[in-house]
Amino acid sequence: MIKTVNLTKIFRTDEVETTALNKVTFEVKKGEFVAIMGPSGCGKSTLLNILGLLDNPSNGDYYFSDHEVSKFNERHRAKLRKENIGFVFQNFNLIDELTVFENIELPLIYLGMSSGKRKMRVGEVMDQMQISHRKKHFPLQLSGGQQQRVAVARAIVAEPRLILADEPTGNLDSTHGEEVMTLIENLNQAGTTVIIVTHSQRDAEYAQRIVQLFDGQIITENIKKRFI
């Protein structure tokens, strides 16, 4: 589903040049659950941004569903994004001015779905995430765990083929963290490809495969026993 070849990302300021990713080549197959781990600053978020089409690489190729997309313009990337990828962030990134329902509905609006269909689909997802009773609340009225569940609901509402999660449990206590990870695991088992970036060994355990990054390079692509 995803393949990168010699993916390189260099950040330049006036005097300093930082190589965030250094010739990263790796692949994620359809239906896989991959965790990317590594110390702070190793480039894992940068990698996730590029995989999520939020950023372009400086060099190298990125194949998404067999299409080379690294040179796509913003309009193209936006289209690809809204049709294929769901995002979950550490700090939830819900829009404070919109209710739970409206936050979840947003991706469907950008997909141009009709209002009736949207209502139905959002209803389903809210049931699935057990947040229906919070439908009219605003994000700031919810606990962290609930907020992240809304974020997950929003990520999956458009039924994306790929879910990218950046430290999804980073702002949650362990109980809520586990809940969210279980949700993600269930999605994966239902067929969605998942890539998460995490510091937490425990979160990484949910994945079938752990990729270790260090100084912008992949040092291991350990395939876990469970998968074999």
């Binding site: 978020s45 941004n49 999520g52 939020l54 950023d55 913003e74 309009r75 936006a78 289209k79 994004r81 809204k82 049709e83 995002f87 962030f89 990134n93 819900l94 829009i95 404070d96 001015e97 919109l98 409206e102 509905e105 947003l106 991706p107 609006i109 950008y110 997909l111 929003r154």
Partner: protein, 799 residues
């Protein structure tokens, strides 16, 4: 999608209440002011548009080369001019002569009225000025001697109904006027107000000289055939006049030039014309100035909008990021932000229309007009409204739209907020400077205009008109009656002195050319005044050479003349006493000898220089009683005066007016301009201050964390306030440097309209800058103080 935008727009508004209020209130006030000004401007531009052929109607103007005065434009012409023009030029289809009778006493049975806006008019007035009759026939109503057409308003006032009025006879002096028609009330925005039309031939009956060339005493209007080039027509007037007015070749240079003024120009573009009928004359410069202010006010409100949007962008950035991650492209976001600003603008426009309707009555009172909006008819206003909505919405929304929509989601979602503001601070500063330029210019202008008005009102005019009351005599000016009433008045100790004259300022309002009785035919154009022996002493006008008029000299009445310094200066006389003037009237030559010279005083407004003036001692020209009364007893004295008046002139309406009031009335234009100007300037200042408040709030909010840390470290907030103030001071100073020359230039131009003006001093600009600084500093301190007193823990948690 749209609903989603509206929803988030409204929620955004309600979340940042202060900013939203600044936006909405600022825009609302701005748009209201804009509407009011536009209505006013529209009203002024629509003067005389009710007449039938506004584009083909012209008023005849004379450019006179007046000895002693210089070139002057006069919209008064001679009686035979109109008929001669129609006779000689086929392209002139019709003419209309109007002679203003002004305010005259009218008597009907036991009722007396001092009737304003009475004019003598040719019958063509009905067609050319589009006067419609409710009763009567336009083809005959003004054909007979002493026939009169009155307005509906007057008919109701005099006779309670329109039908009652027809055929009634009213009395003006010893003439009996028969009402032959009732006309619709005339619109107020016309240069000539008409409540009563008297047939023109009646005026020729009273003043037979109107039939001959010689005296400019009426206004001549002409209607040109369609597609006539009036400038080409004008060129033929020189030869035309010589056909009718005999003038020896050596005096041709004295001949006036005749030209045409389009009737729609009369209201706004006649400031340079000296003698004319021009009711509530407007000023085209004022229209420009107000239009500029209207646009500035809107610009200021838009700048506030943009400034606040930039300030809020920090908060909106996250939303932009999230929306982009979820698949929104740049166009979606541009649409969203433009949509939001269109909504805010629409809300403001609706509020502004309501506010305008609430304010219109008071506004009308201030400017003494009757403005209103007829939404079903006024298409200019309606289309303007939509244009305003779109333009303000787009302009205000465009910057946030294009700026915010460019944010890269990873930058705003990950990197924190710091990076976002770098690029915009320069723009924000530029906008603040721009706003201060406007504010400083406006404050400066207010100061200058205010000082000029004060200067005019307080300038020593060369005579003492304090506690002088004038009572118009109209035709009650027989010497016997005047003597009688003078003596009666003086019996009251509250009356200190009584004089009679042709006007409260001594002169009669007319001008004449008189000849010096010498061999070189020296001529001088002078103002004519008629005064008795008490006038100069009572008004404190010194006779600097010779003597005043006196009862002791029997010949004074017919042979004496007093002249002012300006006349002496023009004639270059070293010893004016005993010099002789002559004037020819019909076959008689009148000669008058100079018996005295008075010191120059400003009998007219300070807009013009003091012109040569001559004074006669003839009671026929005296139409007003002037008396000096004791200040503390004015009320009882006035009551006494009124009762004496009614005893001596039973049946004549009594009126009185303080000289100081009439004098001040000469500057109504300036005072009105000042009023309107200062109200709107104040408004734009308020909007600017609101914007400034929003901006400082934002900057301080951004530094809340810094303030918190400083407090935890034991530091004071004094430093952060001083740095903030320093930042703003710099901006205000830059604005001051840019604003000074601009403001100085425009004000200097404006002051040049006055013959007597203040000079613009450097401290006006310093004061303007200081006021702006004060506004900025107070805002900053107020806001920073609040923030500094908050709990530091809350402050550092702020992210």
């Amino acid at each position: 999608m749209l609903w989603n935008y509206i929803k988030i727009g409204i929620r955004n508004l309600s979340r940042d209440k202060i900013y939203s209020l600044i936006n909405v209130i600022g825009l609302t006030i701005g748009i209201t002011a804009f509407f009011l000004i536009i209505l006013y401007v529209q009203y002024e531009l629509n003067y005389d548009q009710h007449i039938k052929y506004p584009k083909r109607m012209y008023r005849c103007i004379e450019l006179q080369h007046a000895e002693g005065v210089g070139d002057q434009h006069v919209a008064m012409t001679m009686g035979p001019l109109g008929p001669a023009l129609v006779n000689d030029f086929p392209e002139i289809q019709k003419m209309l002569r109007i002679r203003n009778a002004g305010r005259i006493p009218i008597i009907y049975k036991d009722k007396q009225f001092n009737q304003d806006h009475v004019v003598f008019a040719d019958p063509s007035v009905f067609e050319l000025f589009n006067v419609r009759l409710i009763r009567g026939d336009t083809s005959t109503a003004l054909n007979e001697l002493w026939s009169v057409v009155i307005s509906e308003n007057i008919a109701k006032k005099y006779f309670n109904s329109v039908d009652e009025a027809i055929g009634k006879v009213i009395k003006y002096e010893n003439h009996h006027l028969k009402i032959t028609g009732v006309m619709e009330d005339q619109p107020k925005n016309t240069h000539i107000r008409m409540e009563m039309l008297v047939s023109f031939i009646s005026s020729e009956e009273i003043f037979p000289w109107l039939k001959s060339w010689g005296t400019n005493a009426l206004t001549t209007y002409i209607l040109l055939a369609p597609h006539t080039d009036y400038k080409k027509l004008q060129d033929k007037f020189g030869d035309f006049l010589l056909k009718y007015i005999e003038i020896p070749p050596e005096y041709r240079h004295r001949m006036f030039e005749l030209y045409l003024q389009p009737v729609p120009d009369i209201h706004l573009k006649s400031g340079y014309i000296k003698f004319q009928i021009n009711h509530e004359m407007g000023n085209v410069t004022m229209i420009y100035v107000l239009s500029i202010i209207a646009i500035l006010i809107i610009v200021i409100a838009c700048i506030n909008f943009i400034n606040i949007a930039i300030a809020k962008s920090v908060r909106r950035a996250k939303e932009v990021g999230v929306r982009k991650v979820l698949g929104a492209n740049q166009n979606d976001l541009i649409r969203q932000f433009i949509g939001e600003s269109l909504i805010i603008t629409l809300v403001s426009i609706i509020l502004a229309i309501m506010l305008m309707e609430i304010l219109l009555p008071s506004f009308n009172r201030i400017i003494d007009k009757e403005l209103f909006v007829d939404y079903s008819q006024n298409w200019v206003f309606n289309i303007g409204l939509i244009l305003l909505w779109v333009i303000v919405g787009l302009v205000s929304g465009s910057y946030p739209a294009f700026y915010l929509s460019r944010f890269k989601p990873i930058t705003v979602l990950k990197a924190g907020h710091g990076k976002i503001n770098g690029g915009t601070s320069l723009l924000r500063k530029a906008l603040v400077v721009f706003q201060f330029i406007i504010s400083i210019t406006l404050i400066f202008s207010i100061l200058v205009i205010y000082s000029q008005i004060r200067f005019i009102l307080n300038k020593d005019l060369g005579y003492n008109y304090e506690n002088v009351v004038g009572i118009p005599l109209y035709n009650n000016n027989s010497p016997e009656k005047i003597n009688l009433i003078k003596n009666e008045f003086l019996k009251n100790p509250g009356v200190l002195n009584v004089a009679v004259s042709s006007g409260m300022n001594g002169v009669s309002g007319t001008q004449s050319t008189i000849e010096v009785d010498d061999t070189t035919d020296t001529r001088i154009t002078v103002r004519l005044g008629y005064v008795d022996e008490n006038f100069f002493p009572m008004m404190g006008i010194p006779v600097i050479e010779g003597r005043n008029f006196s009862k002791e000299y029997a010949l004074d009445r017919n042979e004496a003349i007093i002249i002012n310094e300006s006349a002496v200066d023009y004639l270059g006389w070293d010893d004016p006493l005993g010099k002789q003037f002559r004037s020819i009237f019909g076959d008689t030559v009148y000669k008058r000898k100079v018996i005295g010279v008075i010191r120059d005083y400003h009998y007219y407004s300070l807009r013009s220089k003091i012109e040569p003036a001559v004074y006669f001692y003839n009671p026929e020209g005296m139409h007003i009683l002037c008396m000096k009364i004791q200040k503390d007893k004015d009320q009882e004295t006035m009551e006494f005066i009124e009762s004496v008046w009614h005893d001596i002139f039973p049946g004549s309406p009594f009126e009185s007016r303080y000289a100081s009031e009439s004098l001040r009335n000469q500057y109504t234009d300036e005072q009105n301009l000042f009023k309107i100007f200062s109200y709107f300037t104040l408004l734009s200042l308020i909007i600017s201050i609101m914007g400034l408040y929003g901006l400082t709030s934002f900057i301080i909010e951004q530094r809340t964390k810094e303030i918190g840390i400083r407090k935890i470290m034991g530091g004071s907030v004094f430093r952060i306030i001083t740095t903030l103030i320093k930042e703003f001071l710099l901006l205000v100073l830059i604005a001051g440097i840019i604003a000074s020359p601009i403001a100085w230039y425009f004000m200097n131009e404006g002051l040049n309209e006055f013959a007597y003006r203040i000079s613009i001093s450097w401290y006006y600009i310093v004061l303007s800058i200081l006021i702006s600084i004060a506004i900025a500093v107070i805002t900053i301190i107020h806001k920073a103080y609040k923030s500094a007193n908050s709990d530091p823990v809350i402050a550092i948690k702020y992210e």
